[in-house]
């Protein structure tokens, strides 16, 4: 099973041969959803290459058959290892670059970060990765192009509406980089109604197929939507509880399945204090929850100010990013917000070490150090203004906010009742 396989809806192979990404793409095709043409080099070819340098036959022919001017070359292990291996975009399929890119993806299986990821997630080291080569679709081609990511339901609350980020006239790499301020997914509806309709249809189909909430990556090129990845599941805490109960109510899964899906750990996580989400809540921005907990305090935009202001009451330190030079401010603050960076950034690591609520990557915010205020599209919040942050859901709201440990109460109660009546013990 080292041979190259075209991406085809008829391919019966599983993730062990196609890799997780390749298997998802074949599933999307089977559901009638648009996927750029491409082929998969199975993990067995990676293993052979890493063992003795053997390179799979037929790469040039497979690339020629794509008839694409440019291709993408991505890793796709049987078990998801997001961001740990190499990706190459805009590769000329008729050049030696293609073979070099495939070899680089094979070799990236052995990168120390990837090794660490496997160690910590209990993934065997001898699996190897598949390589997915596809015709490039460009999110930056024209004004009717763009890229985005979408969950079929809100990953923070589990509520039944699509949630995600989109960038117009930009490639997908910009969406996941965290360095560019993305737009809320809903903006697609006004700007590209046909793409929006196709996306909703696709999300509905993948949910029904996987019988679970799904996450997709997509690009639209000149008004035409393409799916680049699908992954089921992945929600935690109260969102996982709500989705399991709602899916049972929608008769997509039965109650026993709903009970089986939610572990005792998920239920414990569902009880972490959160901001009570209400309709009149003034949500200023949303980022990634990086250290759980809810904190209320006055905005400070430098570590020095945070340290001084903390003597008069709780402070939320809002920074573009943090460094060791901000340690005194981090120590003094009740909560931390950064506008760039992800869950492994300095701010996130320090906040967790100190047990403080933190949001990272709140890309909709700008910190204006010169004027000592934070800016969002359309409003200005000076230093000293009271805000509340939720380090689980990533919400930043004006003023104080009610907190709750059982917002999913009715969902949780129902799930527990189903578990009791079925006499099905929750898994650990």
């Amino acid at each position: 099973m080292t041979g190259i396989r075209p991406l085809s809806p008829g391919d019966p192979a599983g993730p062990g041969v196609l890799g997780g990404k390749g298997h998802g793409l074949v599933t999307l095709m089977r559901l009638g959803l648009p996927v750029p043409p491409g082929f998969v080099i199975p993990p067995a070819a990676c293993r052979a290459y890493l063992r003795d340098g053997t390179f799979p036959d037929g790469l040039d022919a497979a690339a020629r058959d794509l008839r694409a001017a440019l291709v993408s070359v991505r890793s796709g292990a049987a078990v998801s290892m997001p961001g740990m291996m190499d990706t190459f975009l805009d590769v000329d399929p008729r050049s030696a670059d293609l073979r070099a890119a495939v070899e680089a993806v094979f070799s990236s299986w052995l990168l120390p970060r990837a090794v660490t990821y496997r160690e910590l997630h209990g993934i065997p080291h001898d699996l190897g990765t598949a390589v997915v080569v596809q015709a490039m679709v460009s999110g930056d081609r024209d004004e009717h192009s763009g890229s985005g990511v979408a969950f079929s339901r809100d990953p923070s609350t589990g509520a039944r509406h699509p949630y995600g980020d989109v960038l117009f006239e930009r490639p997908g790499t910009d969406v996941v980089s965290g360095r560019v301020a993305t737009r809320p997914l809903g903006e697609l509806e006004q700007r590209e109604p046909a793409v929006w309709a196709a996306l909703l249809d696709g999300l509905d189909r993948v949910e029904r197929h996987y019988r679970d909430v799904c996450h997709v990556e997509f690009t639209f090129e000149s008004g035409r939507l393409w799916f680049l990845q699908v992954r089921p599941g992945g929600l935690a805490g109260r969102a996982a509880v709500r989705v399991a109960v709602d899916l049972a109510d929608e008769r997509i899964i039965d109650r026993a399945t709903a009970v089986r899906r939610v572990s005792a750990r998920q239920i414990r996580a569902a009880r972490t204090p959160r901001i009570l989400i209400t309709d009149d809540l003034d949500v200023i921005a949303r980022g990634t929850g990086a250290s759980p907990g809810v904190a209320t305090g006055r905005i400070a935009v430098t570590a020095d100010r945070a340290a001084r202001m903390a003597a008069d009451g709780p402070v939320i330190l809002v920074r573009p990013h943090t460094s060791p030079l901000d340690m005194h401010g981090l120590a003094a603050a009740a909560g931390i917000v950064t506008t760039v960076g992800g869950p492994t950034s300095h701010a996130a690591v320090v906040a967790r070490a100190m047990g403080k609520a933190a949001i990272v990557g709140a890309a909709g915010l700008t910190v204006d150090l010169a004027s000592g205020q934070i800016l969002t599209s359309g409003r200005t919040l000076p230093e000293g203004v009271l805000i509340t942050i939720d380090g689980t859901g990533g919400e930043l709201v004006a003023g104080t906010a009610e907190t709750t440990t059982d917002e999913s109460g009715s969902h949780l109660d129902r799930l527990l009742a189903w578990a009791a009546s079925a006499d099905t013990a929750l898994s650990p």
């Binding site: 120390p112 970060r113 090794v115 660490t116 990821y117 160690e119 910590l120 997630h121 599941g233 992945g234 935690a236 805490g237 996982a240 572990s263 750990r265 998920q266 414990r268 996580a269 759980p292 570590a303 020095d304 340290a307 001084r308 903390a310 003597a311 460094s323 060791p324 030079l325 901000d326 340690m327 005194h328 120590a331 003094a332 869950p343 492994t344 950034s345 300095h346 996130a348 690591v349 967790r352 070490a353 898994s427 650990p428």
Partner: protein, 199 residues
């Protein structure tokens, strides 16, 4: 002559107390404090009182430190070696952050939760990966120490932090002001300041 050892140590620590300056610069606490007072007289550092107070550089102190450090590098004639080591440091940096995150949070049955350190097997795997990273970091630190001798102190401090964590004082990986994570970040800051790269 300006006391570059203490000035630059405080520059990379940011804002702190004399005990940490003493630890980082291998001085006694009394000596560190006395030298900080001398720098304050020169207008290069200042002490903020209060519960979250401490010592930090003034704007004049920051520019004087940048000037002196640039002159030191020029005199040593090792900019290329430091730049090369910095590039290799940047390859290791995401790994260090991954490991600190893995230390604080762990994926269990699809839920990322706070690592409560009750699973000794998991903690041992993280610690083993720290040790592996540290072996590769040692090469970078050795090259830095050759290029500019003051960098040798980081190797000692990183080794000390890892040794304490390995001996069971687990907070020395990522949870104290002298932890591996903290020393690593001071090294990062030092490299940026030394090469004159804005953060």
């Amino acid at each position: 002559m300006t006391d570059l050892l203490v000035l630059h140590t405080l520059r990379c620590l940011g804002f702190t107390d004399p005990a940490r300056v003493a630890d980082a610069a291998a001085l006694t606490e009394a000596d560190a404090e006395s030298r900080l007072i001398d720098l304050a007289v020169e207008g290069l550092v200042t002490r903020t009182p209060g519960p979250f107070g401490g010592w930090g550089l003034t704007e004049a102190g920051k520019s004087e430190d940048a000037r002196l450090v640039a002159a030191e590098l020029a005199a040593a004639g090792t900019r290329d070696a430091v730049t090369g080591a910095f590039e290799r440091f940047l390859v290791l940096n995401p790994e260090l952050l991954d490991l600190c995150t893995a230390w604080h949070m762990r994926p269990v049955h699809g839920v990322t939760e706070v690592n409560d350190h009750t699973d000794a097997g998991y903690d041992a795997r993280v610690l083993a990966r720290f040790a592996d990273l540290d072996r590769r970091a040692a090469d970078v630190c050795a090259d830095l120490g050759t290029a500019l001798p003051r960098f040798a102190r980081y190797r000692e401090r990183l080794t000390a932090a890892l040794a304490r964590a390995t001996a069971g004082e687990l907070e020395h990986l990522a949870d104290t002001t002298t932890s591996y994570h903290n020393v690593w970040f001071q090294l990062h800051e030092d490299l940026l300041v030394t090469l004159g790269i804005p953060r």
